[in-house]
Symmetry: C2
Subunit: 238 residues, 2 copies
């Protein structure tokens, strides 16, 4: 027999901060899932079958050009959800969503999700506020890609990942980071070496341990913080 989750046990902030009535609306449809690194939750052009509310861990939204070049555009973790496209009344998007740091999620299928949205304005409004913050994150990512160095963008990315993964050691290869940032693999290696020399982190084969967020924030400079502040303003106190 399946036991439905209890709201206060949930480690996804969006679900945690739903009012009790809205949470109960979703509760019977929520299914706990678990994903390894590399799992694909959404693919370009495919109908989104379900929405995920991640618990600690990290997902990437990856944008693709028609020639196959791609780069990460957004990051999703326990502060958010996947499937914003459904919230906007659309069935599919041209993006990929994939798991970077293994995580559990609470899944709800598209049908019941849509029904719940139709049934509750407050639920819809809650999730739309997150959609707004996420679009701020996308815009900020565009800015960073245009204006900041690899080092700064690495620092920003690691901070954002660390915020969501809730662990110090992140299982990330340089190759993976290079694809997400849209830079060379060797560029990531040298960038990470600088961060390591400054004491911000330790690198291992296949992994990075965050050691000093303050140093990372210094290096990230102005590239980090805007979406985070917006999240706190809009969804932090609820």
């Amino acid at each position: 027999m399946t036991s439905f989750p209890i709201q206060t046990d949930i480690r996804n902030h969006l679900l945690r901060t739903l009012c009790a009535a809205d949470f109960d609306r979703l509760r019977a449809h929520l299914v706990r899932c678990s994903f390894e690194q590399g799992a694909v939750l959404e693919s370009p052009g495919e109908s989104v079958a379900a929405v995920h509310f991640p618990e600690p861990g990290m997902l990437s939204l990856v944008a693709h050009a028609v020639d196959g070049t791609s780069a990460e555009a957004g990051i999703i973790g326990p502060e958010g959800m996947t499937g914003l496209v459904l919230l906007n009344g659309v069935d599919a998007s041209p993006h990929t969503i994939l798991v970077q740091v293994p995580c559990r999620t609470l899944l709800i299928e598209a049908g019941p999700f849509r029904q719940a949205l139709d049934a509750s304005c407050t639920l819809r409004e809650h999730l739309l506020r997150y959609a707004q913050v996420f679009s701020v994150q996308l815009a900020q990512g565009a800015l960073c890609n245009a204006q900041f160095t690899i080092e700064q963008r690495l620092a920003r990315w690691l901070l954002m990942c660390h915020d969501r993964a809730d662990r110090e050691d992140l299982p990330l290869t340089h190759e993976l980071l290079s694809q997400l940032l849209g830079v060379r693999r060797a560029g990531v290696t040298t960038g990470l070496r600088v961060l390591e020399l400054s004491g911000a982190l330790k690198t291992r084969r296949g992994g990075i341990s965050i050691r000093d967020r303050a140093v990372l924030r210094t290096i990230a400079g102005a590239s980090y913080g805007v979406p985070e502040a917006e999240y706190a303003r809009i969804l932090g106190g609820s």
Copy 2:
């Protein structure tokens, strides 16, 4: 005496494709406005007082970092609207929206806009579909800034601007373009020279005339097209 606009006279695609009932809901609140280049429709942290539905012309959504560096993240024209932040139930965003190519808009104040949204699901769904396309545009912009050259990004930008402005001659200085793309002014100059030599456009002091979209598309390559296709798929036929 003010005469309220007639739907079929309107040159904003979102308003044009509203169902008649939804349009009538907005109609009495719509006010025609006109803006020069440089006009600011939204500022960081300021409550959004009104939503604009542009007619031919072009607006930029500009993202800012905390240190003042900025770059354009999105483009809005007659296919869309400003004030998505209100649609998402939030009062203000950290972005600026400003006019790049002079245009008229149909304005509706925040209060009546919110009332109309509450009164009509179909209206809200229509506009949310645009919000989805716009977020695809933001993600694609992030990808382009990470992966494409100044020349390609210029070509993409000019195509997107031309799509919206409905005129061949665009009043744009190199300085302005450089701020939007987040590159050097001199970089724009040399980039535009290449585009001009390939016959894509003519430059004048303070302006650019689009001559050959096909050439521009060739140069833009894979950087152009994804949000446009998504718009056609989601909102084109309605």
